[in-house]
């Protein structure tokens, strides 16, 4: 670790409050950062989360706001420094690449003058020297020096971005704050700008803070990242780690909304809108969080370590773990032979996660599912639902617990029972609500899986239903208790593509809005690639590979996984 004095920038209890509004709007709240030389830090978050206010606040550029806390740059507290003293730090020590817009450059001054004028102010060089320096800077950012006679309106967006970078580098700052460097740029200019920033940072060795809502930019340019929400840091860690394995529902929501993360996955934005910045008592993300509980609204969560170099501000310690299985082993005895169906399998399913369990038939997937659901007792190992050991089916005998949908709908639903009775059976067992409540919940569940709800249908016996209908009925029965975790064993195999798509979208919706989780067992890798967040690959009773779906599908490591994918993705239409 670097010791205290060596940080280039240390920010303590930093806050920004716009007191011109009534009630005052708190744009940034209680931020603490330590930034060592040469480091690159990314700040991510939705628009209006306080990213830009934070950057402007560091530079003392907020006129109408109250800036609190300490901004210690090389041992000097910049906050509350008189304007005149502050001017010496601006640009010479800390420079900003402003968010690109036509208005960010003065329309009546030439590009050359605007790039060169800080040099004149800070170093008092002669015009000829400044001109040489301007030409050098423009070459460095890949602009033809002849453009220095041009006015801002004559440049394209990409060129303007380069001018902004050149301008920021004019006084060789030690700290460069870059605000949304690639918004509104086409892909080619965007990549060029990113490469250029990377190269310049290597060459000039400045410390960099990058503010962006584009996670691709953050991934490319930064080592460390922090996610901001309503002015507070809610997650912070190494970029590679946070982007692969976010521990806060908000950060995961940002990732799920990013199209450039994994091309096969759907886009899901975060529901609801951010609170207006008026300070609340509890967790600011509480109203939009998919795992919120009433207790979250009492106190602000503090930023705590949950893993090495990974901090999260959440009352539940980040995204909850729903299911945890440790070293599960299951053997079948076949006369003299002993078949190990599940061999020391460990698994973890978090709130709001769809985990696909893939593998060929007979690899032990269904056995594992049945052990997890408590149908079989494992020979060894144990499983936990929400940190409580699974035994005696407590987890299925409750609302919001865990449910399983078996592979074969014909044996899963009794053909001598009526449709409605099958659907509401779990509710009848736990005696939930009144009879009418249960009927209503049952009908709702049927509707959710696109089954008819006319009384004629409700009174039909199950043997009169088709395979697809029986399968949907089984799913409806599982969903009627509004489970948090669903173990779904090949549940869509008998459905036509349209019903399958509708059902999966419904489940994805539940996942993103309410933190519903699912263990999705399938041998259809197309589907798995589309819906899963994490993937476990099972082969001969063992988990041979597991991880984030994007990683596994892009770069499968195990030879079996590779072969499986090769076979599966051969039949693209």
């Amino acid at each position: 670790m670097i010791d205290e004095g060596q940080y280039l920038l240390e920010i303590k209890n930093f806050g920004v409050e716009y007191d011109c509004a009534d009630p005052p709007v708190r744009a940034v709240d209680d931020i603490n950062i330590k930034l060592a030389k040469n480091e690159t830090l990314g700040i991510i978050g939705e628009s209006g989360c306080g990213k830009s206010s934070f950057a402007m606040g560091i530079m003392g550029l907020l006129n109408q706001a109250n800036v609190e806390g300490e901004v210690i740059y090389k041992g000097q507290n910049l906050n509350r420094l008189p304007e005149k003293e502050m001017r010496k730090y601006r640009w010479k020590e800390i420079a900003l690449v402003f968010q690109n817009s036509l208005e960010v450059l003065n329309p009546v001054l030439t590009i050359g003058e605007q790039i060169g004028e800080p040099i004149k102010t800070h170093y008092h060089n002669s015009s000829a020297e400044i001109d040489v320096k301007v030409i050098e800077l423009m070459k460095k950012v890949g602009l033809d020096p002849k453009w220095r006679q041009a006015y801002p309106h004559q440049l394209s967006g990409g060129m303007r971005q380069r001018v902004l970078v050149a301008m920021a580098l004019s006084c060789n700052p030690e700290l460069l704050i870059v605000d949304e460097p690639t918004t509104a740029l086409d892909v080619i200019s965007k990549n060029e700008i990113l490469r250029m920033l990377q190269m310049l940072q290597k060459e000039l060795g400045f410390t960099m803070v990058i503010i962006s809502h584009d996670l691709g930019v953050i991934k490319k340019l930064t080592n460390r990242v922090m996610a901001m929400y309503c002015g507070r840091i809610i997650e912070k860690g190494l970029t590679s780690e946070v982007l692969r394995n976010p521990l806060h529902c908000y950060t995961r929501g940002l990732l799920n909304s990013s199209p450039n993360l994994f091309k096969y996955k759907d886009l899901w934005g975060i529901d609801g809108e951010p609170s207006s910045g008026i300070s609340t008592n509890g967790c600011a993300f509480y109203p939009r969080c998919c795992q919120h509980e009433e207790s979250c609204s009492h106190e602000k969560p503090s930023l705590e370590y949950v893993a090495l170099e990974h901090m999260v501000a959440c009352h539940k310690g980040g995204i909850e773990t729903f299911l945890k299985a440790v070293n599960i082993r299951k053997t079948y005895k076949l006369k003299e032979m002993e078949i190990v169906a599940v061999k020391d399998v460990s698994m973890e399913i978090k709130s709001g996660e769809i985990v696909a369990l893939v593998g060929e038939s007979g690899s032990g997937k269904s056995t594992l599912a049945q052990v997890l659901a408590g149908v079989w007792k494992p020979d060894k190992g144990e499983a936990f639902f929400k940190k409580k050991k699974l035994e005696g089916h407590w987890e299925t005998k409750m609302m919001g617990g865990m449910q399983i949908v078996f592979q074969d709908p014909f044996s899963a639903t009794s053909q001598r029972m009526k449709v409605l009775d099958v659907v509401k059976e779990p509710l009848d067992i736990i005696k939930w609500g009144s009879r009418d409540d249960r009927d209503e919940a049952g009908i709702k569940a049927l509707r959710a899986v696109q089954l008819p709800t006319a009384s004629e249908f409700l009174d039909r016996y199950c043997h009169a239903l088709s395979g697809g209908q029986r399968q949907r009925l089984a799913i409806a029965r599982a969903l009627v208790t509004r489970p948090k975790l669903l173990i779904a064993d090949e549940v869509t195999s008998m459905l036509d593509p349209s019903t399958q798509a509708n059902l999966l979208r419904k489940l994805k919706g539940l996942q993103n809005r309410q933190g519903f989780a699912m263990l999705y067992i399938t041998h259809d890798l197309h589907l798995a690639r589309k819906v899963a967040d994490k993937v476990y690959v099972m082969y001969q009773g063992e988990i041979v590979e597991h991880g984030v779906s994007g990683d596994i599908f892009k770069n499968p490591e195990h030879i079996y996984t590779r072969q499986l994918m090769k076979e599966s993705f051969r039949d693209m239409i």
Partner: protein
């Protein structure tokens, strides 16, 4: 580009033609004719009533007996030769009378323009910088008040206070009559002494408009992103305000200054009459009273040409100041 320029030229030509035509028509629509008051230096005491024969003679002498169409053609023909006609009342060429008076009006208008612009820009900037604080509130109130009082009323009040009551400045005229100046300096100070009050009144009447415009424009500019950029670069406050802000804030002001020339000339007519200042405004009043068509036409024409010239200058100067207007996109 070239096409544009031709269009522009055509526009100016058309404007001039319309104005010349109006110029020709308007005095002739006045009731009465120039010969009612001819030959009497003071219309009230010594009125000479001409006989019908005399009037016919004069009318044919000045070509006023011809049809309007013929008169119009003659008028245009004269103008093309640069001939503004011959004053019926003063009996000298119109151009000579106008040239003699033009200097005084031009001097007053240009000075008032400079003074009102200078003060307006300064106060407007101060107001914008301290927006919603007491200097702004005070200035705003004062300027609104001043700009709402009609110019002749300000003129009269100032005349009463400074000339009649305090006797600091002369009551009327542009120079002390029959004065022998010992040096050019004496002459200049006498001229300035006479011009001070009229210029002040005219300036005050224009200042409010400029002030409000600068205040508005500056306030907008001060909130622009590029000002935050300038500030972030650590530039001195002076440079931020004068180099970055004012240059942008003055753009609309430049147009306004040139366009306000018309209003200034209008104001000058009133002010000249209040202070008995021997400019074009006073000449115009005199000539309208005696129906001296030729001189009135001449004055209108000269004023028109000046205002158009000002418009043209406004366009040109704006192009020099704002690079965005020259949109050829070349470097």
């Amino acid at each position: 580009m070239k096409h544009n320029r031709i269009m522009k030229l055509f526009e100016y030509g058309l404007t001039i033609w319309i104005i010349i035509t109006l110029n020709f028509l308007l005095p002739r629509l006045l009731p009465g004719d120039p010969f009612l008051l001819l030959s009497s230096d003071n219309a009230e005491n010594e009125e000479i009533v001409m006989t019908q024969e005399q009037r016919d003679y004069y009318e044919s002498y000045y070509g006023l007996d011809k049809s309007m169409g013929e008169q119009y053609v003659t008028y245009i023909g004269q103008l093309i030769h640069g001939d503004l006609g011959y004053s019926i009342y003063y009996k000298v060429p119109v151009s000579q009378i106008i040239l003699g008076r033009l200097g005084w009006t031009a001097f007053m208008v240009v000075s008032a323009l400079a003074v009102s612009t200078g003060i307006g820009v300064l106060l407007g900037s101060v107001s914008a910088w301290y927006r919603e604080k007491w200097p702004d509130k005070l200035l705003f109130f004062q300027m609104i008040l001043l700009s709402e009082i009609p110019v002749f009323l300000i003129g009269l009040m100032i005349l009463f206070v400074f000339s009649a009551w305090l006797r600091i400045f002369p009551l009327s005229g542009a120079m002390t009559p029959f004065e022998d100046y010992t040096s050019w300096w004496d002459q200049l100070s006498d001229i300035l002494n006479h011009a001070f009050l009229p210029i002040m009144v005219l300036s005050i009447s224009q200042m409010g408009g400029i002030y409000l415009l600068v205040r508005n424009s500056m306030t907008t500019v001060l909130q622009k992103d590029y000002l935050r950029t300038a500030k972030a670069k650590g530039l001195s406050q002076k440079r931020v305000i004068f180099h970055h802000a004012l240059r942008n804030a003055l753009l609309p002001v430049v147009t306004r200054i040139f366009l306000s020339l018309g209003a200034l000339v209008g104001g000058a007519i009133l002010v000249e009459n209040v202070f008995a200042y021997p400019g074009l405004g006073r000449l115009m009043r005199e000539c309208i009273q005696v129906h001296d068509y030729q001189v009135v036409q001449g004055i209108f024409l000269v004023v028109t040409i000046f205002v158009l010239l000002a418009n043209f200058l406004a366009d040109t100067v704006y192009k020099l100041l704002d690079p965005r207007v020259n949109d050829s996109g070349k470097v």
